[in-house]
Symmetry: C2
Subunit: 251 residues, 2 copies
C-alpha cells in the first residue's frame, strides 16, 4: 500500500456501476484493517453527464466527454493520480478520445486507465485459448464497435447478439426506466433478458462473453453460464486500478 497514489473514479455512469467498481476495489485489495486499504476518491455526479448512448446514436450533440473531463479534473485537483471510468459507452472513440486529449492537458498528471484496453489485454494473457468472444453491451457500445476495434487487431473474433434480441432484451435490461438496472438495480426482469442475450451468443459459438456494460455484472454475478466464462470488465478495471496504485492484490 502506498499513499503516493490515489485512485479517482467517475462513479456516476451509472451510480450502480460506480458502486460495483468501488466495491470490487475494496474486495480485491489484500488488507487486514481499514488503514491498509487504498485511498479512493469518487465523484458521482450523474445529472451533469448526459446519456452516452444518446450521443453515440446521434440523438444529441452534447458530448458527455466534457462533463466527465470536468469531474476527472476535480479528482486530479484533489490529489487523484490514477483514474477509471466504469462506463463502456464512454470508452467509444468519439467520447474517450476527447477525454484522453483533455487529461493530457491537466496541470496535475493523471493516469487514466482504458477499461476496454484492460479487458483486451486480460483476454490475450489470461485466456489465450478463447478466440471467439461474445459481447453483451448497450446498443451504443455495440454499434460504435468499441470492443471490435480493441479485439480484432489481436486476432479475436467478436460476436454480438441478434439485432432484435439486442434491441428488445439486452438494451432494455440496462435502460428500461422501470425495471432496467440503471433505474432499479439488479432486478430478475433484467437478468432474464440478459440471459436471453447470453444464450443467443452461445448458440452463435461464443467461447466466452464480455460483460461489456458495467451494469451487467450486477445481474450476472456468477463466473460462468452453461460453461461459458463471463468476463467481468468492472473486476478487470478494479484490479488494474489497484495495480496502477501500487496496491496489494488479493489472490
Amino acid at each position: 500500500m502506498s499513499d503516493n497514489h490515489i485512485i479517482g473514479l467517475v462513479s456516476g455512469v451509472g451510480p450502480y456501476a460506480g458502486l460495483d467498481l468501488l466495491g470490487k476495489i475494496v474486495m480485491q485489495t489484500a488488507a487486514t484493517s481499514d488503514q491498509e486499504h487504498l485511498p479512493v476518491f469518487s465523484i458521482s455526479w450523474p445529472s451533469r453527464i448526459p446519456d452516452r448512448t444518446r450521443f453515440l446514436l446521434g440523438r444529441t450533440a452534447k458530448n458527455p466527454a466534457y462533463p466527465i473531463l470536468e469531474q476527472l479534473e476535480l479528482l486530479a485537483r484533489m490529489g487523484a493520480t490514477v483514474a477509471g471510468i466504469p462506463c463502456h459507452t464512454a470508452h467509444a472513440p468519439a467520447i474517450f478520445s476527447v477525454i484522453e486529449e483533455g487529461v493530457r492537458n491537466f496541470s496535475r498528471p493523471l493516469k487514466l486507465l482504458n477499461m476496454v484496453a484492460e479487458v483486451a489485454e486480460h483476454l490475450q494473457t489470461a485466456m489465450p485459448g478463447c478466440r471467439t468472444i461474445g459481447l453483451l453491451a448497450t446498443t451504443g457500445t455495440v454499434q460504435t464497435r468499441v470492443y471490435q476495434e480493441a479485439l480484432e487487431p489481436r486476432g479475436f473474433r467478436l460476436l454480438v447478439p441478434d439485432p432484435v434480441i439486442q434491441e428488445t432484451a439486452v438494451h432494455p435490461a440496462i435502460y428500461d426506466p422501470k425495471h432496467g438496472i440503471k433505474a432499479s438495480g439488479a432486478t430478475s426482469w433484467a437478468r432474464e433478458r440478459v440471459l436471453g442475450g447470453a444464450a443467443d451468443l452461445q448458440q452463435q459459438g461464443a467461447q466466452a462473453i464480455i460483460l461489456g456494460c458495467t451494469e451487467l455484472p450486477l445481474v450476472l454475478t456468477e463466473p460462468a453460464i452453461n460453461d461459458i466464462l463471463l468476463i467481468d470488465s468492472t473486476l478487470i478495471l478494479a484490479r488494474a486500478l489497484i495495480r496502477a496504485a501500487a496496491g496489494r492484490l488479493k489472490d
Copy 2:
C-alpha cells in the same frame, strides 16, 4: 433532485461501511435514470485515519478527529454541502465534538449530520412503543456511552451485551484481523458472533436492537431476528442525507 446540494462522505471508516452507505444512498433515492441520482462525493482515505477505538480506549493519543476533519474540508472545498461519517466510534464526544467545532470554522458551509442523533430521532418518531433498546457496537462505542447519552434523555433504556460476549464475540466480529468484517467483509464467522450478541440482548429484554457499528448491517441484512427489529443506522443516515440534500426518497 437538486444540484444545489452535494452529499460528501468520509467513506474510509471503514471502507466496507462506506460502500454500504454509498449503496444505500443510491438505492433509497427515487430515480429512473442515472441523471436523477444525487451528486455524491466520497473520500475513502483510511490510512490517514487512526483507529477510533484505540483512541477512545486510551491506547493512543492521536485523535482521529483531525484527519477526518481534513477530509471533510476537502469535500467542502470540492463543493459538498451536506456530509456524513459512517462510523459510530467517530461519533463519540471526544472525537465528534472536535469534528463539529472544526466544521463550524470551514470557509465553505457544510451541514454535518450526526448519525447517532438521527437514529435517536428515528426511534422516537417511528417506534414510539419500543422503550428498551439493545446495542451491538464496538467496545469503544459501548464504553464511551455514545448511544446511552443520546437515548436516555429521551426516556429509552439501553441494554449492552454481557462484557464477556462483547469482548469475545461482538468486538472481534468487527475487528478480528483475519475473519472480522473490517478485514474480510461479511463472513459467516462474523455473523455467528454478532448473532450471539443479539441473543444475549434479547434474553435481557431488548425490544429492538441498534446496529451501532456501520460494519454490522453487512452481516445482519434482515430487518428482524426472532421478532426483534434491527435498527440499521447506516440506512437511517443514508435517508437523512437524501432528505438533507433535497432528494426524493423511495417508499
